[in-house]
Structures are given as structure tokens and as C-alpha cells.
Symmetry: C2
């Protein structure tokens, strides 16, 4: 198999195609801030406004498979969390927004996705926003659009858009990340005080690669609606597992449960950190598409050295093993154990560690920032772990 499996599966961690299309259309994005914004929609010069889009991606397929195999519609609930949190945690990388609004867009094949399944997704949005309120994170549910479109959607697409405002003086720019900063990682495993189950760390990126490496062809044979029939048989669903299998490495989780594990939000912790440290936080990165190499697009002339990562969560080890994915590609596609990185002076770590523990989150200094000797504007990332040492340029 080629070294870039993700590309063969019709997905891309680098998203070069999308970046190229945006550039061609004159819509290249700003790389000084993790999430983009405009001047204030209400015209207040001390505020900025944003409108952010993201979704649950092909994790919808895992939820669908689990619902089919177990007869339990609860599996659809996590998709609302994925779509909401993928937006919320991106936004929290630029600081503490004030009030937020969310709109959900669902595309379904109404032949396969029932009204009851829809209802699970929608009530999950309501439950989540209730929970977040107790951390003073206020998100208004603004309705949305559900389209029945089986000729375009094989099973289900769950997307969301989040709107809000943030005080300009509180914005966190990754331009402030500097040599000497430590990199604090927030673990994506375990269970926070506001979660009901352990997290596998998968979040909502790399699901295409994860599904095809873990799940066996028999899943797609039973449910042909979970596969693009144009995919090469060499790469499609080449794993050993049924969704309900429980390999020992996953310590009680089924493969489907691990792959469907809902994306954790770090917003309650980030809100507390910002309220104490303010602009002492030089930058925050959400390791989404691009995994541990996400940093490459942010900061100026930095060399991000990540040499003390969290242990690789067992799901990622299984994906790597059964997919025969190179370690270098694993770090480029998956978060590999931590999804949020904070850049700041080392003296602040103890405080972050304490606040994180209170919420059931592990924090750790996973590396530091040096000057990039090769460029004043571009960045590089070097990852050293038990898997080897890997160097990345944009």
C-alpha cells in the first residue's frame, strides 16, 4: 500500500485541495488566529464576530452501524456532541466568546435514518447546551435544516454552525507564540467530571482512515450504504473487526464504541484558564485535521518540539497495527492522545494542572517552542516518541 492511505481513501489531512480552491477564489484564510472572525456584526469596535462551521464527519457511519447492530438509537446522540464541540473548541482557541448561537444542518437518507434517530440528535443538542450552561457557557439553539436527500447522502451528515462575539482585547493570536514557550497538552482520554463515559480520544478527525483500518469488509457487505463503491477494495474496510467486537486492548470498549466516542469539549477548562491567565496564554491549538502537525499553519518562524507526549491511546495503536499506517502518518492524521495545546511560560503550568485536575482532565508539558532555524515565517514540527522521531514542514 502507498504511504498516504488517507489520500487513497478520498480524504486529506493536509486539505491542500481545499486550501487551493479557497486561494483560487480569493478567500485564503488568516493564519494569525486559529479561528477566523470579522469586525463586529453589531458594529461595536471593541468586539469581533465569528461564524464557524464544522461537523461530525464520517463518524456518522459508525453511529449508524452501532445503531443497526445493537438496535439502540442512543448511538446517534454523540453526533450532536461531535458537531457542537468541533465548533466550540475551535472557537475557544481564539479566547473566551460571550454568548453563542448554534444552528444544525442534517442531511439524511430518510429510507435508513428514522425520525426517531433525528430526534435523538436534536435532543442531544439540548442536553449538551444545558450541561455547558452549568459552566457558564451559554449557547442558544437556533434550529436548523434537515434535508431528506438519499440521492446525495448515503446515510447521514450532521453539521453545525456556531455564531458569537468576542471582546477584541481578549483575542488570542498564535502570532504571540514564541521560542521558550512550553507546550501544555490536555489529554483527550479518561473521563472528565462532565462526561458519562471514558473517551477513546478519537474525536472527529481521521474517521475515514480509522474506519477502514479497523472495520472488516463484512460490515460493508451487510450495510453497503456505508461505503463509496468507487473505493479500491485494497484500502476499503481492510480491518479485522465487526463494530461490536471488543478486542482486549480497548479494555471493555467495543470497536464501534471507541470509534464513536463523542468529541470531548475543553471549553469549561479553557474558560477558567483564560479568566486567570488572560493574555499570558500566547496561543492555543486544536489538533483537528492535520493531527499533531496542525501547528504548522500557525505562528511565525517557530519550531514546535513535541518530545514528551501522552501515551498513545490504545485505539490509535490498533488503527496503526491493523492499517499498517506509518507512525509519521499517524501523527499527521490523528490527535494521538491530546487535542488541545496551550503555549505559555513554564511558570504557569502548575496552575493549569490544578484547574485541569478539578475537571478530571490530565495536563502535561508535552514539549516546547524553539526558533525555526530554517525560516523566519514558516514553522516546523518535530515529534519524538516511542514510535520514533518525525519532522514535518508545511
Amino acid at each position: 500500500m502507498s504511504t498516504d492511505k488517507y489520500q487513497q481513501l478520498g480524504a486529506s489531512a493536509k486539505k491542500t485541495g481545499v486550501h487551493k480552491a479557497l486561494a483560487q477564489a480569493g478567500l485564503a484564510s488568516n493564519h494569525s488566529y486559529f479561528a477566523s472572525f470579522s469586525d463586529d456584526i453589531a458594529g461595536d469596535p471593541t468586539y469581533r464576530s465569528f461564524l464557524h462551521a464544522d461537523g461530525a464527519g464520517t463518524k456518522c457511519i459508525v453511529a449508524y452501524l452501532m445503531a443497526q447492530e445493537t438496535g439502540d438509537l442512543k448511538w446517534f446522540r454523540g453526533l450532536a456532541q461531535d458537531a457542537l464541540v468541533m465548533n466550540l473548541d475551535d472557537i475557544f482557541c481564539i479566547g473566551r466568546p460571550e454568548r453563542l448561537q448554534i444552528s444544525n444542518t442534517i442531511g439524511r437518507n430518510a429510507r435508513l435514518i428514522t425520525d426517531e434517530a433525528l430526534s435523538e440528535i436534536m435532543s442531544s443538542y439540548a442536553e449538551l447546551t444545558e450541561m455547558l450552561k452549568s459552566y457558564d457557557i451559554n449557547i442558544d439553539l437556533m434550529g436548523g435544516e434537515t434535508a431528506d436527500c438519499g440521492d446525495t447522502v448515503r446515510t447521514l451528515v450532521v453539521d453545525a454552525v456556531m455564531a458569537g462575539r468576542i471582546k477584541a482585547e481578549n483575542l488570542i493570536s498564535t502570532d504571540n507564540v514564541r521560542p521558550g514557550d512550553i507546550i501544555v497538552g490536555l489529554a483527550n482520554t479518561g473521563r472528565t467530571v462532565y462526561e458519562k463515559s471514558d473517551n477513546s480520544s478519537i474525536a472527529s478527525n481521521g474517521l475515514t482512515l480509522a474506519r477502514h483500518c479497523m472495520l472488516a469488509k463484512e460490515n460493508a457487505a451487510r450495510y453497503p450504504e456505508i461505503i463509496d463503491p468507487g473505493l479500491s477494495s485494497d484500502v476499503a474496510y481492510v480491518g479485522p473487526f465487526k463494530a461490536t467486537d471488543t478486542p482486549a486492548e480497548l479494555a471493555g470498549m467495543s470497536v464501534g464504541e471507541a470509534l464513536a466516542s463523542p468529541t470531548r469539549t475543553f471549553a469549561p477548562l479553557l474558560a477558567r484558564i483564560y479568566s486567570v491567565l488572560g493574555q499570558e496564554v500566547h496561543g492555543v491549538i486544536h489538533n483537528t485535521g492535520g493531527g499533531q502537525t496542525k501547528n504548522l499553519r500557525f505562528g511565525r518562524g517557530n519550531h514546535y518540539i513535541k518530545n514528551d507526549l501522552f501515551p498513545v491511546p490504545p485505539l490509535f495503536s490498533l488503527i496503526q497495527k491493523y492499517g499498517e499506517v506509518s507512525s509519521s502518518e499517524m501523527y499527521r492524521v490523528f490527535n494521538m492522545g491530546h487535542r488541545i495545546e496551550l503555549f505559555l511560560e513554564e511558570r504557569h503550568f502548575a496552575l493549569i494542572d490544578t484547574m485541569a485536575k478539578e475537571l478530571g482532565i490530565s495536563a502535561k508539558i508535552i514539549g516546547h517552542v524553539e526558533k525555526n532555524s530554517g525560516s523566519e515565517t514558516d514553522n516546523q514540527v518535530t515529534i519524538s516518541s516511542g514510535l520514533g522521531t518525525f519532522n514535518y514542514l508545511l
Copy 2:
């Protein structure tokens, strides 16, 4: 064939399933206003905020077919217009918003939809917002999300979310629609001064029914990615045409061109009407899902009599003919010639007519409102046309 073809095709004009799911999740919508809103995101008590979601639906399939058949990627451009206008014109039904923001969400099968096709969609958003600026309708492009997800999306999904604010005192509530009001329809055919080609009137609703009634099985045989393989062969692509065929009735348009005709915006005209008539406009309805019966969900105890509609545009006559669709269902699924309805006193018609003509739009008194003798809260719609007389209850 059954009388409700749309349902057999996996779509629903009534969207009863979606409404049920929303109700189950405690998220039933407000029917006093055509589009929903919350109190102001910036906390100003004299404003309201909205976040609205909609998309191009399965028109994406027509654009894809035409691009494949002609080798021209321009066909993808209209999809940005569909997604933008389906939001914009819904929003304009509650009044004149101030500044607007739009975020686009695209899901594609990257094996079939190229980066160049994406670029056409994105630059079309930019071109459209430029055009609207000349009518003082200001929409900020806020980026978005493009997901490569061929295992969930057969070809392409193009959605958008629009955010904005509106002065509370300018809000138009359909509760103000009253017996005695005339219904002014704004024609969806012809060519406005801000359009480059004639409009077939299809807009972005009923495309599932329209595609399957008009296009022949050979289209799906050549491009199996345009069909849900679970659809019954009795209803799927049962029409006589290839996308590039040009039946005489369409007066030079190909079938694909007519089905892909980009959704017209009436926002420039509505903005002018509101600036002159203000709250003299008692209500505005956008005939989207539900077609000419959309009114049923708005107003209180009204009987909407529509007895002088525009001539049925030829595309709809062809759909009805080849799909053997009942006239009653045609009015429930399609706009049948006008997409916007204004409710107000008859003395204001001449002014609206003049303003409409200046923009190349035909306006017409298509009916009037009476008291619903059967209910003080529910509404009914009666349509009388050359096709017959049809009565609708919710």
C-alpha cells in the same frame, strides 16, 4: 403509482417527520414569523438575532450531471446561489436585516468533485455578495468547512448558514395577515436586471421529484453516483430525457439547464418595498418546501384564496406530464411560478408593481385572504387555476 410520489422518493413536502422529531426534542418552532430569531446576540433590546440554515439540496446532482455531460465546471456556480438565496429570501420574509454573515458547508466525494469544482462554488459566493452590495445588501463571507467524505456523500452537498440582526420594530409577523388582504405574487420566471439568464422557476425545492420525473434511467446508468440504489425502480429516474436534451416546451433551455436554474433572490425588491411601506406589509411568505401550501403554517385562522396565479412555467408542466403527478401534489411540492407572496391592502399594489418592474420582476395580485370559517387558529389554502380547484389543510 401512488399519489404521493415525493414520499416514495424518500423526500417529503410536509416534512412531518422532521417536525415530529423537533417536537419530540422540545424544539418546536414559532409560527408567528417566517424565520426564527432570538433576542439580540449583542444584548441590544431593540434588536433580534438570527442564524438560518439551508442548502442547494439535490440540485447538486443536476449541476454534477451537466458538468459531466458538457465538461464545463460553470454548472457548479449556481449551487452557491441556491444555498445563499434560500437563506437570504427566508430571512427577508421577517423584514430587512442589517449586516449579514454567511458560512458555507460543503461535503464532497473527492473522487468525483474536483478542487476546481469547489473553486467555482466558492468564487460564485464572492461574485454574488459583490452583486448584492450594489443593492445595499451586505453579506460578509465568513469561510466555512469542506469535508471530503465519499463514504457518506455520493457526489456533493452544498449548504450555508446565514447570521444577522434585525431591528425589532421592523419585524414582520405573519400574525398580522388578515381577511381583506390581497396576496401579491412575485414571478419566479423571466430575467431580473441583476440576472444573466432566464429563470425556469424551479428554485431549490422539489428537486427530488423533478429529477426523477424528467430524467431517464440512462442518466443513472451512466452515473450510478446520482441515485440511492435502494430506491424502487418504479419511481427512480422514470422520465424521458437526458440532461442535455432540449424539448421544444423549454424554449431553448436544456432539461439540465432548467432543473439547475439558480434560485432567484427577491431581496433587492423586498428591501425597497419595506423602505417605503414598512409595517403596511402584513406578512411575507417564501414558497419553499410545501410549495403553494406553505401558508398553512403561518397566520391565524386565515383562508388563503389563490385564484389568479401566474401561468404555470413550462418546466412544471413537463414535470407533471412525464411524472404523471396530480395537480394537487404539484402545488404542494413546487412554487408553480411565484416564490414570494406579500400580504397587504390592495391600495399598495400599484407601488409594488412599479418597483418590481424597475428590477425586471413581474408582480400580480394572485389572490386574497378570507376568514377561515372552519377554525380560529388553523389556516386553509384554496387554489383555483386552469388545473382545477384544490383545497389544503395542514
